[in-house]
């Protein structure tokens, strides 16, 4: 008894009529988001001493590591890869951001670094699993999203490109999280060296099939200036960054920088390093997209994989008891059953109920 009729596009002619008013919709959504606030989880990974903490402080203008004690060599021998979390609430112009930084001290520091990324992949999977449980649960009112939205991976500037540990790490993580590779401590490279290293790293990323985070394509109707900026951004990866916890005076201004006898490196000077590009990309233009890709791609992959594993496990368990496959549950009434069959034939019904039953098992 339900029929779908027309589907046409009407563009209202508003020249002589007053407008309807749903153009306020983005504002209505806006108002709700401002009230709710945003959250973002950023992971930093790389060996000790590559400037991760300093860069995080520079990006978000925080000082998260004030009371940190640096371990000496002896202490480091026994250290394993840990996962530490710091949370900061930042508010600017009425917009609240709950920022979580996930750090990975100990990564790559041991003599034998086999599988040193394991605690990290486990952590990411755990967050996915927690979210999956929450999302499938009965009370979904206030789900906390602790999924890692972005991982900044620090490549040392000293070598000639990617090292084996870099390749293995990125390959272990590229289908679980958005990876943004960075060339750290870029103040030890001349502009030519930076360019050579970047080209080398880009080639190797392609050669080894590493799927780093891709910036989304620009729409054809974007302004030229925006398209130009976007093009420059893409050509600049991997970003060569420098961070600083100190303020120096240069060219008559107070800037974040590093003072050397031969000159002053200004972190926010675009001709010195790509810090500004990274910050703009990470916060001002692509934060939302990073979250979307995490939700729509990485998390969905995890979820699909998880369900399929559970389903096959359930089928296996049942097969040991009875030789027959699972039967679909009795449908509530004839009408609904007809509706179900309409969509995707019987497979759909069986899938649906199997999923529900496996979710029950999940709890």
């Amino acid at each position: 008894y339900l029929k779908d009729l027309n589907y046409t596009i009407l563009t209202c002619d508003f020249q002589d009529k007053q407008y309807v008013g749903f153009a306020t919709l983005p504002n209505q959504v806006h108002r709700k988001s401002v009230k709710k606030g945003f959250d973002f989880t950023l992971m930093v990974a790389g060996e000790s001493g590559l400037g991760k903490s300093t860069l995080v402080n520079s990006l978000f203008l925080t000082d998260l590591y004030k009371d940190r004690k640096l371990l000496n060599a002896e202490e480091r021998i026994n250290q394993t890869v840990e996962i530490t979390k710091h949370t900061v609430d930042i508010e600017e112009k009425g917009v609240k951001l709950k920022l979580t930084i996930v750090d990975t001290p100990g990564f790559g520091d041991a003599v034998n670094n086999n599988e040193c990324w394991r605690p990290i992949t486990d952590y990411i999977d755990q967050q996915f699993e927690q979210y999956f449980r929450d999302e499938s649960g009965l009370n979904r009112k206030n789900i906390l999203d602790n999924r890692v939205h972005c991982c900044l991976y620090f490549i040392p500037p000293f070598g000639h490109g990617l090292r084996p540990v870099d390749v293995e790490f990125m390959k272990a993580l590229h289908e679980k999280v958005n990876i943004i590779p960075l060339i750290s401590k870029a103040d030890c490279l001349t502009p030519n060296e930076v360019k050579k290293l970047k080209d080398r790293v880009r080639d190797e990323i392609e050669r080894f099939g590493i799927k780093v985070y891709q910036f989304p394509e620009c729409d054809s109707d974007e302004e030229e200036e925006f398209k130009q900026m976007d093009k420059e951004l893409k050509e600049c990866t991997p970003f060569a960054v420098i961070g600083s916890n100190t303020v120096v005076e240069a060219r008559g201004q107070r800037v974040r920088g590093r003072l050397y006898p031969w000159g002053i490196v200004e972190v926010e000077n675009q001709s010195h390093c790509d810090f500004v590009k990274l910050r703009n990309m990470l916060i001002r233009s692509h934060m939302h997209d990073l979250k979307d890709v995490t939700c729509d791609v990485h998390y969905e992959n995890y979820r699909a994989h998880c369900i399929q594993e559970m389903t096959s496990k359930l089928a296996q368990d049942n097969r040991t008891d009875s030789p027959l496959p699972l039967l679909p549950l009795p449908t509530p009434d004839v009408e609904t059953e007809r509706l179900i069959k309409m969509k995707d034939e019987e497979m759909c019904a069986i899938d649906f109920y199997i999923v529900i039953r496996t979710l029950v098992l999940f709890y």
Binding site: L2, K3, D4, L5, N6, Y7, I9, L10, T11, C12, F14, Q18, Y19, V20, F22, A23, T24, L25, P26, V29, H30, K32, F60, T62, D63, V88, D89, I90, E91, E92, G94, V95, K96, L138, R140, K141, T246, V247, V248, A250, R256, L259, N280, I283, R284, S285, H286, M287, D289, E300, A304, S322, P323, L324, L329, E335, T336, I356, V360, Y363
Partner: protein, 368 residues
């Protein structure tokens, strides 16, 4: 000491950055305390661009007897011919024998914002001699849309954007009798108020004087309260004090008394939408004449997103919980497996599933 002698113009400052390391106990870092600024409000712009590109969906259902002006009102609300009446080529004004539901979709655009508007009409409702259970097809339709969405959500390979056909708002047309709610009104709103957001309106209100209108509204509100009917905006779903103040004002004025038309007339040199009678012109958008503008503001300009949110976060979630619990109960009460030798399997299931069932149902009661 030595460094200071070298350069005079460069001063290195150990700058203790004014901020906090852990957020739990302390407070919030204000933008103005920071040296420079991070730029996080740009996230709002990013979100806005994305939602503008994706467009919006809105599904509105109109329920009421024939002739109450449902189609005209919807056309007036959206200033376009969006109702079923305007879109069906062979439309005839006749009363159908059963309640059908028909939906019409349009994509309308305003100032760059695209909206896919679906109007669901319910011809035949309340028109028969015996109107018992005439609300059932409507209840069924609403639940079917929730079911559709739930299935998409549970799918192994989910779509990025699940198409939303759930009814976001149900506008219920009350005839302007001036007395009380009729039994059919009470029955309908009682049942549907639990699963969808109802906005009752007094239709064809140009037969009521202002005093009659006020009294009628008061009586209706009394009736609604006496019968435990919750209409939009529901008091329980106000999120904070600001919302409550805003919504209280609306609650004092519902149901809105509306008049709809698509004809224009000249009044004081302006073209206005109105109904021309021998005793004057009823201007639809004049708040002194009728409350159409209030309805439009509520539905479109201020609470459209909220209607969708209430549908998604409250009505849909309630349906989902109910459905998941039902499935658990059904599944574990089992359709018995028939073994190869033709006998039925023992009816006691493995203990792990029964335990899980208990936890899940316990959780459900806990959260309701």
């Amino acid at each position: 000491m030595e460094e200071r002698e070298v350069e005079e113009r460069v001063v290195e400052i150990e700058h203790p950055l004014p901020c906090l390391s852990e957020s739990d106990t302390q407070g919030i870092i204000k933008g103005r305390d920071l040296f420079g600024y991070v730029g996080i409000e740009a996230v709002l712009d990013q979100m806005r661009r994305k939602t503008m590109k994706a467009g919006f969906e809105f599904n509105i259902m109109v329920v009421g007897q024939s002739g109450l002006g449902k189609s005209t009102l919807v056309n007036t609300l959206f200033k376009s011919k969006v109702s079923r009446k305007s879109c069906t080529p062979n439309y005839e004004e006749k009363i159908s024998k059963t309640v059908h539901l028909q939906s019409v979709s349009h994509v309308i655009e305003e100032k760059g914002v695209k909206m896919k508007l679906t109007v669901i009409d319910t011809p035949g409702f309340g028109d028969q001699i015996n109107n018992e259970n005439c609300w059932e097809p409507i209840v069924k339709y609403v639940n079917e849309q929730y079911e559709k969405y739930l299935k998409e959500e549970l799918n192994v390979n989910r779509k990025r954007r699940i198409p939303d056909t759930r009814v976001h708002c149900c506008v219920y047309f009350l005839p302007a009798t001036g007395h009380w709610l009729r039994p059919i009104d009470v029955e309908f709103m009682r049942r549907l108020g639990k699963i969808v957001s109802i906005v009752p309106v007094i239709a064809k209100a140009d037969t009521l004087t202002l005093e009659e209108r006020l009294e009628f509204k008061q009586r209706i509100r009394q009736d609604l309260q006496a019968n435990g009917i919750r209409v939009y905006p529901q008091k329980e779903y106000d999120e904070d004090a600001e919302d409550r103040i805003l919504n209280d004002k609306i609650r004092e004025n519902i149901p809105f008394a509306v008049v709809g038309t698509d004809k224009e007339h000249q009044v004081n040199g302006n073209k206005v939408l109105g109904r021309k009678t021998k005793w004057g012109i009823i201007e639809v958008e004049n708040v002194a004449h009728c409350e159409f503008a209030h309805l439009r503001d509520l539905l479109i300009r201020s609470h459209l997103q909220d209607l969708k949110d209430v549908t998604h976060n409250i009505h849909y979630e309630a349906y989902r919980v109910k459905r998941l619990n039902e499935s658990n109960a059904n599944g574990l009460a089992l359709s018995p497996l028939i073994l190869e030798n033709g006998t039925l399997e023992k009816s006691d299931r493995k203990p792990i599933l029964t335990d899980v069932c208990r936890t899940v149902t316990g959780q459900a009661y806990g959260c309701m």
